[in-house]
């Protein structure tokens, strides 16, 4: 009698559609996946350890590079955690600007997800359209802070600078046009029978599994669990805005696709609301122990110069304690757990990256399906390896 064996293939770390350096060892029976084992660590840079040797301000540049497609959201989560440790609250204007940036970043991140996910499934054209719109958003980021990918725009206690002239009108114009662009992407995909065949009933994650595996973001909302930190634990004045938290029904790739598409529309809506109601006033909280003094004073006043020197060289000393704070990043719950021993550097900075936790559900979703589904599922998890490996 003929003997049959499973075929073990090594997908990644150098593979066109593992979105970076993810390695998945697949055991195949024909084209059916018997077992999938993700291996991570190829992009490990020791961010958490590096942070222990940097002052709190310096860590901002590190967190930019976690999920490098959503630098603003990483900034957001980190500064909120430190502000919680210091027990300060930034002015309304800063809160609103932070929300504008975070929501623009969510759109940018989802656009890349849509382009690459569609490309993985064989539709190559949406990629170019989504990058066109994403570029417009990165231009806006460039306007406010000079950087496109690694903004370092948020500061503990406020922002690096106020919005430049012309930003509000430009952003409003872009966000008003944006829903029509989303309609364009949907024309290519949503009702396309091949797209539906490839994503419906593929990579199903039940609500129970999603909760047990700690999934968050569009992953858990696709499985019909309306868990959104912006809604459940509002931070930075999210309670001021009207938006819908979209959910899916079956937890398959198609539901996650629709959740993210709707999230883009909702984010555009939030940005418009925030731009319209943008309060006037300071962008920085008054906290001289933490914040740099204004630049004009540094140039003219010796006390301010000394103060500036002290903050830049030594940072500030927060009280002893532990905090956890999280935000709804584009990929899910991004949390920072900070242990402070009273010195100017964090004793321990633990990051809860959404991609890493969401990736844990990969074997559950792909075992028993086909090799082509593995690609679709990896795409629909929306991982960024910089964040998975840290």
């Amino acid at each position: 009698m003929a003997k049959t064996e499973t075929l073990t293939i090594n997908m990644g770390p150098q593979h066109p559609s593992t979105h970076g350096v993810l390695q998945v060892i697949l055991e195949l029976d024909g084209e059916v996946v018997v077992k999938a084992t993700p291996h991570i660590g190829y992009l490990h840079r020791g961010v958490e350890k590096l942070a222990e040797n940097k002052t709190y301000h310096q860590c901002i540049t590190l967190v930019d590079r976690l999920d490098y497609l959503a630098g603003m959201s990483n900034n957001f989560s980190y500064v909120l955690a430190v502000e919680k440790l210091l027990d300060i609250e930034v002015p309304k204007r800063a809160q609103y600007i932070r929300i504008i940036m975070a929501e623009l970043q969510r759109i940018a991140s989802h656009l890349i997800w849509l382009g690459t996910h569609a490309h993985d499934i064989g539709a190559m054209t949406p990629l170019f359209y989504t990058f066109r719109e994403r570029d417009e958003i990165t231009f806006l980021f460039e306007m406010v802070c000079g950087a496109r990918l690694t903004p370092s725009y948020f500061r503990i206690g406020g922002l690096a600078s106020d919005l430049p002239d012309g930003f509000v009108s430009k952003a409003t114009e872009l966000m008003k046009l944006f829903p029509a662009k989303v309609d364009d992407y949907e024309t290519l995909l949503t009702k396309n029978p091949i797209w539906m065949q490839r994503t419906k009933e593929v990579g199903i994650l039940s609500a129970e599994d999603a909760v047990n595996l700690g999934a968050s973001g569009p992953m858990i909302r696709g499985s019909n669990v309306p868990w959104d930190i912006r809604r459940s634990n509002p931070y930075s004045s999210y309670e001021d805005f009207n938006f819908i938290v979209p959910t899916g029904e079956n937890g398959d790739c198609y539901d996650r696709y629709q959740v993210r598409i709707e999230e883009m529309r909702q984010s555009a809506e939030i940005v418009l609301q925030a731009l319209e109601r943008l309060p006037k006033g300071d962008i920085n909280v008054y906290a001289p122990k933490v914040m740099l003094p204004p630049k004009e004073e540094v140039y003219t006043d010796i006390a301010a110069l000394i103060h500036h020197f002290k903050i830049v060289s030594g940072g500030f000393n927060p009280p002893v304690g532990e905090v956890y704070s999280s935000v709804e990043a584009p990929k899910g719950e991004l949390g920072f757990y900070i242990v402070s021993d009273g010195t100017n550097k964090p004793y321990r900075l633990r990051i809860r990256p959404p991609s890493f936790v969401n990736l844990e559900s990969l074997p559950t979703m792909v075992e028993g399906s086909l090799i082509a589904d593995v690609i679709a599922v990896i795409g629909s998890i929306d991982i960024v390896l910089g964040e998975v490996d840290r």
């Binding site: 075929l7 293939i9 593979h15 066109p16 559609s17 084209e31 569609a118 490309h119 993985d120 499934i121 064989g122 539709a123 190559m124 054209t125 990629l127 170019f128 359209y129 066109r132 290519l188 995909l189 396309n192 091949i194 797209w195 065949q197 490839r198 086909l370 090799i371 082509a372 589904d373 593995v374 690609i375």
Partner: protein, 329 residues
């Protein structure tokens, strides 16, 4: 004696012309694909080498020619080298029976514009097109690479599934013509093109043709997002280029067959027949590119199900309906 020499001479000249025109078309279809895709995807495509990128195919060819020839350790050397040859050879041989124009008169001699008019033309085309699959399967199998093997297996399964409906989809045309010869088929379309008599046959042929040449949405054989590059993963330099050229030759070949069987071949008003023929073929190539820019790809099992459960019954139905209608009329 002289007569034989002249006849053979004419044949050779025609072969050389067809070969060079096909090669040239293949080269420029690759450019066309990249430029048209670029247009559809809000980007430019290659436009730097020569005017509007017209020298790009030559630059690409030269580059590939000078690339290092790699052969995988433990590859089955003979088959590994043979596979691209089979693939391209089969694609090229199809052109032998395609009539690309009417007759022309040179020095009082009537020269028909096709290399050979064999009375089993269509069978010959499909036989060669099926043989071409061996190129892919052998390439996948001999490369000693798991991804290649998956690609080769997919190729085998896909071609077998689509060979049948492809063959059956044109039976309607054969019933109307009563001949397998390509020249006869074109002549039978003097008054009305078969696409109007056999619209379903044409649609089915078109779908199968996409699967046969492995283009989006049926490009599972070499789908780079899943199995790296499928059967051609381990090929480099000119061997890779030959696969690449073979693929485009196949695309042009199936387009030419579609034109011959359904769109009246070289027939058309005002312009010379050869221009009509090439124009129609290019329109089909454009359609192939357009579809590539629009659709996602099928999954392996969906592809098989579609072939056996949808296309095959439909082609059979088409034959039955055609037969009934012909009988009644």
């Amino acid at each position: 004696m002289l007569e034989v020499v002249i006849t053979i001479g004419i044949m050779l000249v025609k072969m050389v012309i067809v070969l060079s025109v096909v090669m040239l078309m293949v080269a420029y279809v690759t450019l066309m694909e990249r430029r048209v895709l670029g247009r559809m995807q809000v980007r430019h495509g290659p436009n730097r080498v020569g005017w509007q990128g017209l020298l790009q195919p030559i630059a690409d060819g030269t580059k590939l020619f000078f690339k290092e020839e790699l052969t995988v350790d433990k590859a089955n050397k003979g088959l590994y080298h043979l596979a691209p040859v089979i693939y391209m050879g089969c694609a090229l041989a199809i052109y032998a029976v395609i009539p690309f124009g009417n007759e022309i008169e040179v020095l009082g001699r009537v020269i028909p514009l096709h290399i050979a008019d064999i009375n089993i033309g269509i069978l010959y085309v499909f036989a060669l097109s099926s043989l071409g699959v061996y190129g892919l399967v052998l390439a996948g199998w001999s490369s000693n690479n798991k991804y290649s093997m998956l690609g080769g297996l997919r190729a085998a399964a896909q071609m077998i599934s689509y060979e049948l409906p492809l063959g059956l989809s044109i039976i309607g045309v054969l019933m109307l013509t009563g001949s397998l010869s390509m020249v006869d088929i074109v002549n039978a379309q003097e008054h009305v093109w078969f696409v109007f008599l056999q619209p379903f046959g044409f649609l089915l042929y078109l779908i199968c043709a996409f699967a046969e040449v492995g283009r989006t949405p049926f490009d599972l054989v070499e789908c780079d997002n899943e199995i790296v590059a499928g059967y051609q993963t381990e090929y480099s330099s000119m061997k890779f280029a030959i696969f690449y050229l073979g693929e485009y030759m196949h695309i042009i070949a199936v387009s030419a067959i579609a034109v011959t069987l359904f769109w009246g071949g070289w027939r058309g008003p005002f312009l010379p027949p050869v221009v009509w023929f090439i124009g129609k073929v290019l329109a089909f190539v454009f359609f192939f590119i357009w579809v590539r820019a629009t659709y996602p790809r099928f999954r392996y099992d969906q592809l098989m199900r579609f072939g056996w459960k949808v296309l095959l019954p439909l082609t059979l139905l088409n034959i039955v309906v055609t037969a009934l209608v012909t009988l009644i009329i």
